[in-house]
């Protein structure tokens, strides 16, 4: 198992190198003249030349890339244009909010989607199955910004049950910072009042964000369970007298979940990109809403840093998913 994890980490290195190259190209090549962009709209050619020299844009590309890698290694992305603070500290402060939101969504999507998909497969072609399939198509197709606004109108403005925006009531001190995740920190310090407040704030954004993932997890689980139920070992389990409930909820489900875990790793990518919109709507102080304002204000450094951080998180999540996959299916660890 250790060998498997080490190998998996090694395999992630090329991906991370690719990420560096991509972001480098994004920064230096896509804006046709980054020096002009940096110098401002009314800059004279002399000023642009000065910027070019100051930033090293007159150096050969490979040298620029080496300098860039050095900057990334030192986590030196410069200051943000909007906040005028180091981009790195902005992100460090906002990252836990995004992690909390995406993981809450993923957890919800898995906990609801897997049983739904299993039931749809067990009652294959029943009314429940048909309804589930229609609803999940809806879940995949629905625009999250539209759905979020409907939720806000109904549950915050009309019924007043849930807070409209933000992660925690303004003016109240948030839970003691241990992990940065409010739900976890409030539990660790046994402040259930704070947990309840944080929970109420995360419900709508997490639910909105989870829709797409929930739908695809449910559909994947359904397909997986249907396929697994055709396997010889299921027919054998039946003939050998295992109880039907145990066959489905223990033996079949485990095999289907193995297939679904890989899917969850891929889902994480779409989840992060949807988080950008959801955070902006709910004013969630995470990396996504930061990215939106950075893009709107052409804050290149911030955009770059967000891209890198999200890329690294995505790589880490997929390594974790692969390790979980290997733990659930002993054959995987042995083939690598």
């Amino acid at each position: 198992m250790t060998r498997f994890i080490l190998r998996r980490l090694l395999l992630a290195l090329p991906a991370l190198f690719g990420l560096l190259v991509l972001t480098f190209i994004m920064l230096r090549v896509l804006p046709s003249d980054p020096s002009a962009a940096l110098a401002g709209e009314n800059a004279t050619p002399e000023q642009i030349a000065a910027v070019r020299k100051a930033y090293g844009f007159d150096e050969p590309l490979w040298k620029q890339f080496v300098i860039y890698v050095g900057q990334v290694a030192r986590a030196d992305f410069g200051n943000s244009i909007i906040s005028n603070r180091p981009v790195v500290s902005d992100i460090a402060w906002r990252l836990p909010a995004t992690i909390e939101l995406t993981f809450a969504s993923l957890l919800f999507a898995a906990l609801v989607g897997i049983p739904l998909g299993t039931m749809a497969a067990v009652w294959h072609n029943s009314p429940f199955d048909h309804v589930m399939r229609v609803v999940t198509v809806g879940g995949l197709a629905i625009a999250s910004f539209w759905f979020a606004i409907i939720l806000q109108i109904v549950f915050s403005m009309d019924l007043g049950w849930l807070p409209l925006r933000s992660r925690y009531p303004d003016g109240l001190p948030p839970p003691t910072n241990i992990t940065g995740l409010y739900l976890v920190d409030s539990l660790l310090t046994l402040r259930f009042d704070q947990f309840w407040l944080s929970f109420k704030h995360i419900i709508m954004p997490a639910f909105t964000l989870s829709l797409g993932g929930l739908a695809s997890i449910a559909r994947f689980t359904r397909a997986g369970v249907l396929e697994t139920m055709q396997k010889d070992f299921v027919h054998y389990a039946e003939a050998a007298g295992y109880a039907r409930k145990r066959i489905i909820w223990v033996y079949v489900l485990r095999n289907s979940v193995v297939a679904a875990t890989t899917q969850i790793g891929l889902l994480f990518g779409t989840l992060i990109s949807s988080a950008v919109a959801v955070e902006a709507i709910f004013d969630w102080p995470g990396v996504g809403s930061y990215a939106v304002s950075a893009i709107l204000t052409s804050d290149y450094k911030a955009v770059l840093a967000v891209t890198l951080v999200v890329g690294v998180i995505y790589a880490i999540v997929n390594i974790v998913v692969d390790v979980v996959h290997a733990m659930l299916d002993p054959r995987v660890a042995e083939t690598l």
Binding site: K231, F233, E238, Y251, P330
Partner: protein, 330 residues
């Protein structure tokens, strides 16, 4: 005067099973009968598609969704399995009164669970405290030793893919024995194995049957296996039982033309390789009467009039064929 027959442990009478398909009802089994005598190994022989698997599924009560028994009975002692409710079949019959050994040991074990988890599933004792779990483990390990699995102590903590095909079949045999059933149903348990392993497994089954006083139904397409293992045999063709009797008699002097031709197909027995012209009929539109009649060199008009009655030209050796009506009468 007829002698009192000893009671069979499993008695199938006039069993007909239909499965609904998109093209109509398919009559997979047609008036099938067989009896399994206590302590004996009974072979069921036939080509693929003759209804062997459906027969097994009927006994275990796991017919496909659109399949149902339309006629007949399957008596396990005093109980008719066809009229037992589903949960009674699961709790008292499958894995309990009747142990099952599957065809393909490579596919029958769930690859993502430890062997122990799966084998302990078959051991059902009331209560589930830690103490009984230890007792269950010890019981299964003793079974693994009985089936001569190497390193039986550690086998339960390993995964199926860490065993060879023959070892996996031993695991499955141990699983079938777990609840100490009186009857073992073996569905071509050696087909997926290579020849040397096949022989070991057959010897093991024979030994276990004697040692544990088991009655065994052994499904196969291979007369060689029947000759090595079985006491009695039933030959099936296209969902009908055509002949049954003691193995020595059926092999040496088969009555039914189908049995004769099937035996002639066996490369070790025939001087010249023979085949059977024609193909197995579709169960959707089977021939009337004897289903073998379209391929039978001795077919007469009366063959298609109705299924021939079961006659026993020799005691214990019965056949359903018009050719033998006179002999039985004589």
């Amino acid at each position: 005067m007829m002698l009192e027959k000893p009671a069979s442990v499993l008695e199938i009478r006039d069993l007909s099973v239909s499965v609904g398909t998109d093209e109509g009802e398919a009559r997979i089994l047609d008036n099938v009968g067989l009896s399994l005598m206590p302590g004996s190994i009974h072979g069921i022989v036939g080509e693929s598609g003759c209804g062997k698997s459906t027969l097994i599924r009927s006994i275990l009560g796991i017919l496909p969704k659109r399949g149902r028994a339309t006629h007949g009975s399957i008596m396990l002692g005093e109980r008719n399995l066809l009229s037992l409710p589903a949960d009674a079949l699961q709790k008292d019959v499958r894995g309990r009164a009747i142990g099952f050994i599957p065809q393909d040991p490579f596919q029958a074990l769930n690859p993502v669970f430890r062997v122990g988890t799966q084998l302990l599933e078959n051991v059902r004792t009331p209560g589930d405290s830690k103490a009984t779990r230890e007792a269950k483990r010890a019981h299964v390990i003793s079974l693994l030793k009985a089936v001569q699995l190497p390193d039986a102590e550690h086998a339960l903590d390993r995964y199926p893919h860490q065993f060879s095909g023959g070892q996996r079949q031993r695991l499955l045999i141990a699983a079938a024995l777990a609840a100490a059933p009186g009857i073992i149903l073996a569905d071509e348990p050696t087909t997926a194995l290579d020849v040397t392993t096949q022989l070991q497994i057959l010897k093991l089954l024979r030994g276990l049957a004697i040692e544990r006083d088991l009655s065994m139904l052994f499904v196969t397409h291979d007369f060689g296996v029947v000759a090595q293992l079985c006491d009695t045999v039933t030959v099936m063709y296209a969902g009908q039982t055509v002949e049954s009797g003691p193995v020595a008699q059926v092999l040496k002097a088969p009555f039914h033309p189908y049995t004769q031709m099937l035996l002639a197909c066996h490369p070790e027995r025939a001087e010249e390789l023979a085949g059977i012209p024609g193909a197995v009929p579709s169960p959707l539109r089977p021939p009337t009467g004897c289903r073998f009649s379209p391929r039978c060199p001795h077919a007469r008009a009366e063959c298609t009039a109705g299924q021939p009655p079961r006659v026993a030209p020799q005691p214990g050796h019965a056949v359903r064929c018009v050719l033998h009506l006179d002999e039985a009468a004589a």
